[in-house]
Symmetry: C2
């Protein structure tokens, strides 16, 4: 019998309890022994809920309970999640978490503690919700040098951009609709500004190269400036606007970015619409592999957490080493990263050509502006050339 304590009985935490109950028999078979929820830490009580009898309000009751083998952290936020997880590992319990903010910030330290204590720290659910990506990246792609990761890592923004594309609606009204449907938070900042995707690509890139990429160092641009006109131009180009968290290795250097991009039908992620997420990984041997599924949602995310619980149940007293050192991964300076850009300006072709040289005009029927696509150019050169222009918006092009 493996005993689990769940920290935080919110959406994901209650999903974990539900899956461990609903699929108890097959989980016991696959884990090698039954898995039981021994306690649930939450500030609240849940009268009438089956967990009410095992609710505890003080983390010390979890930490000091020697019968608990695995602690499941589904509280969210960095503090006190960090303190609780650290203490759990130090007391010899394995931990799994769905908390991307915690993992992005303290991943290497918590992995180190787990290794020292010969327990495990897993976080499959921290990126891509129910999509298996962390474990495949660590194990299945271990033979490969990772050349590129490109992910549609946030369901809320993908839903908003999909709706804008399919229905021609503007950002504000789609956001409002998404909030009403529960696809967007009341405060949507972390999603629409790309902060959520930023932490996720920081985790994936750190794992790919075995060093710590601080999320603060990743250039991050959200979708709040994408208008219905941008979408109309994208259609004219035969493209879609999607927001990517991506990183790329060129020679010995790695670049990373969160930004909306124009992609074309030949792009493997072109048809990933709505709340779905997908992650494309390019290895130097395996080529392109892609993982697709529900990037969020109670049971999808909880399923990923439970896969970690089962894996930890099968690895009692065996640390599954994860290569992610505290040593910093240094990024290619943003100025040196190369893209083509789609650009809209107040002004005409002459001004655009004077700034960028060869350009390809794009006409979507807006006489009050001029739009064009540049050749491949560094971010630094783009910024400099754009200074002479009155830029309405610009979107990078992938491919």
């Amino acid at each position: 019998m493996i005993n689990v304590s769940v920290l935080g009985y919110g959406t994901v935490g209650s999903g974990v309890v539900e899956i461990l109950r609903e699929n108890a028999d097959l989980i016991a078979k696959r884990a090698g022994e039954p898995i039981q929820v021994r306690s649930v830490l939450d500030l609240r009580d849940f009268p009438g809920d089956p967990v009410q009898d095992i609710i505890v309000h003080d983390f010390e009751q979890v930490r000091s309970d020697e019968k608990i083998d695995i602690v499941v952290e589904t509280m969210g936020g960095v503090h006190p999640a960090y303190e609780f997880v650290k203490a759990a590992l130090e007391s010899g319990k394995s931990v799994c978490t769905s908390n991307k903010a915690l993992v992005a910030e303290y991943g290497p330290e918590l992995l180190q503690t787990a290794q020292e204590k010969n327990v495990n720290f897993l976080f499959e659910a921290s990126v891509g919700g129910g999509i298996p990506i962390i474990r495949p990246l660590k194990i299945s792609l271990a033979p490969d040098e990772i050349l590129e990761i490109s992910g549609i890592l946030n369901g809320t923004t993908n839903y908003i951009l999909t709706e804008m594309t399919q229905n021609g609606s503007d950002f504000d009204s789609v956001l409002k609709d998404a909030q009403e449907k529960g696809y967007a938070e009341k405060d949507p900042t972390a999603d629409v500004e790309g902060y959520d995707a930023c932490r996720k690509i920081a985790i994936l890139t750190s794992l790919a190269y075995g060093k710590q990429l601080d999320f603060e160092e990743i250039y991050t641009e959200g979708i709040t400036k994408i208008t219905d006109r941008d979408i109309a131009y994208a259609k004219k180009l035969g493209a879609k606007v999607k927001i990517f968290g991506s990183s790329k290795k060129t020679g010995d250097r790695v670049s990373a970015m969160v930004a909306p991009k124009l992609i074309f039908p030949s792009h493997p992620l072109y048809s990933v619409d709505g709340v779905f997420n997908a992650i494309l990984v390019k290895g130097n041997m395996v080529g392109d592999v892609m993982f697709y599924g529900q990037g969020a949602g109670k049971l999808a995310t909880a399923s990923a957490v439970v896969s970690d619980i089962i894996d930890e149940a099968k690895h009692v007293n065996v640390n599954m080493k994860t290569l992610w050192d505290a040593e910093k991964l240094s990024l290619t300076p943003l100025d040196e990263v190369v893209s083509k850009f789609f650009v809209r300006i107040k002004g005409g072709k002459e001004a655009a050509e004077k700034a960028f040289g060869a350009i390809t005009p794009v006409d979507a029927g807006y006489p009050d502006e001029f739009a064009f696509v540049t050749e491949a150019v560094t971010e630094g050169a783009f910024a400099e050339a754009a200074q002479s222009l009155e830029v309405i918006n610009r979107i990078r092009i992938d491919g």
Copy 2:
């Protein structure tokens, strides 16, 4: 230092040696120690090739070499691959293989031997080439009851159907072209008749339910009867023809089949074209997850093999239990499996309605035949109703 012996220096075997050499440093880091190819078993010699000095011609030299930790079987064929793998496991070596025929037939027995000897038997490359699917199915989806697996599991047939769809060519000329390009074997039977996909869906289904599904029990239909007219009708319907290996759980029963199917743009695998493979898995908690990549090819397949080598290097003397018992998985009888059918007959609407009741006619401009789509019907009822008709072809509809 982990010592490996590679059995069979063909396409995949030489790819394994190449990856272990090219990515040696990062593989050593990820495996925890260097991995060295100590011998290569092949009937041939390879003068001038770096492996020539370590070529052996007698398996006994591999079996009795106590320094060899891991045996990599990339010979193909069931015999003598089975005898070699069994003997390697019995002599306390872990084994990994890309050999779907071997795994489909002897999977449970070889897993059992590996468990008894406290070594490992892995076969990531046996399905989906470079696509991580075996490990995700075993570990990442362990919390889930698997409700459905649908796979485009064979690159050759997907390439042929894609070419027929995109260029309107007929089967024979596309096959010839595929053979010239090296996408199809000289004897293409195993691919075009669905035998390859059959073994792969047998492996995936056995793993999903933990019991042995004999591939001989799976109804298997290839693509040799698909004509340019079928493709034209599919386009008329807004659909594509793709060949799937699939299995589905309904209540307590599992059905499985390899057959061409019509799918529509809303299907997650609709845009998987050319030589690419993809596998959709539906879990009762996680929902739909999809895995996509190169289903074959030297380095992609070899990368999957090397991921197994690394995993085995990290699990010396620790058996990673795989649930796949010798107990038979009994299938729903084919007669009871339900589909809609697209049907082409010599004859007219009246005859079709007399046989099937409500139908939806499809007109693609061929006056010498009548085509229609049935309501959902069992295979048994379909066969009976079709007896009164002169059927030119029929294709099942997915969705």
